[in-house]
Symmetry: C2
Subunit: 242 residues, 2 copies
Amino acid sequence: MDEPEVPIELARLWRLPSQTRLGRPARLDVDAVVDAAVALADQGGLAEVTLPKVAEALGVTKMSLYRHVGSKDELIALMEDGVGPPPDLPEGPWRESLAAWAEALADRIERHPWLADLRVAGPPSGPNGIAWFDAGLRSMRRSRLDWGPKVRIVMIVSDYVQGMARLAQSLAAGRSGTGLDQAGAELAYGRAMAALVDPERFPDAAALFASDTFADTGADSADVDFRFGLDLILDGVAAQAD
Amino acid sequence: MDEPEVPIELARLWRLPSQTRLGRPARLDVDAVVDAAVALADQGGLAEVTLPKVAEALGVTKMSLYRHVGSKDELIALMEDGVGPPPDLPEGPWRESLAAWAEALADRIERHPWLADLRVAGPPSGPNGIAWFDAGLRSMRRSRLDWGPKVRIVMIVSDYVQGMARLAQSLAAGRSGTGLDQAGAELAYGRAMAALVDPERFPDAAALFASDTFADTGADSADVDFRFGLDLILDGVAAQAD
DNA sequence: AAAGATAGTATCCTAGAGACACTAAATAGG
DNA sequence: CCTATTTAGTGTCTCTAGGATACTATCTTT
């Protein structure tokens, strides 16, 4: 009856020590692999995280990694959890607390941009994922919201933060001319749209392009946009909480 | 001075006819390639869309596809635009119109689940992307919102819809036991979490897991969740619009 | 010292994206 | 009519990735 209580992936996420200490001692452990992968992703994006490259960074062969992570997907999940727990957030009215939590989430993605590329793979299950989740719930302690709404609001806010981060990254990539196939696309965009968007078919879009709304998409407008949407969502929460 | 007015990718997105009709006539065109790719994605997900498989479906070799699409990424963009324009939406108060637009977006993803996997790659640029964008803006005509807020709200709502779709897909995949590595993970999840989530460290999360909130994540709760968040966002918009 | 367990290695396979040089089929101008 | 030009589609090659399998190396327990 030595069936594991928890699946092996969960055991790795929580760094549960293995029962036995038989056999050859390991040079590597889960943390070493995850840290190396995170370092690669931090400086080159998720695409840099390949089993060969992680293995090379650690000075081992790629197949040895499979002793410590079950698959590439599991490695990604471990990386997501591995970037760490939330910071201590100030207690206070739910609106300020929840906003601070959202800012902390955004900050986390800014430090690890590849987090914006990840798909949600279900409910949080790692220790740090749970910690972030717990912090999000805690921010609403002083509200009169029930569990159901709280959970949904946590999902909405974290989804919003990730979505805005993705958008900001895409715009930044397009703007700074990544040298990829969309070099100069930013310049051509306005002119091409003016030529292609027929005001008869698309009256509102054409009017928008004719206005200078897109012109002031300056350097730090991302922060303004972020606050705008966050406040909008918080207004929506306020409508529910009262 | 016969430089193209618009980049070639945009020309393909908008199906601008090429000037010349020299040379060998094409068996294929952009639409044929895109339609085949969409058909594959519809029945097997984005992972089914590979150049070899698309080519096989069309009875050509994979390299011939590059005569009609510039790259895999461009094919994805063409697919996204290729699923079609928005339906006609009822005029009316902005709140109902915007809600209807969001429902139409959700409906589109339900018909083409792979749309949930796509990253936003900047502002909309294809004819149908523009059409959806235009429809979103139009839904708020009767509000007193300025262009800036309108654009942001369109982004927030479409991001919300896509995020919820992704979440619903993840949960559905976990629930129906895809046969992948997470077979039975759903069952183990509750028990494992109860064992791992220390109430001292994670008081709110532990309390949540102890409650039966997750138990009633029934079959059609996705719709309920969707409406909850949508209403929350609309409440936020209302706070801005007044 | 032998048996058993675990860590890391060497080699193989499958599959995809894309480069490049080729052949095939059309048109325009002499 | 015929040939140069232009465009469409093919065949083959390279690179890179994830992963399976069978192996060797190194430790602990008895």
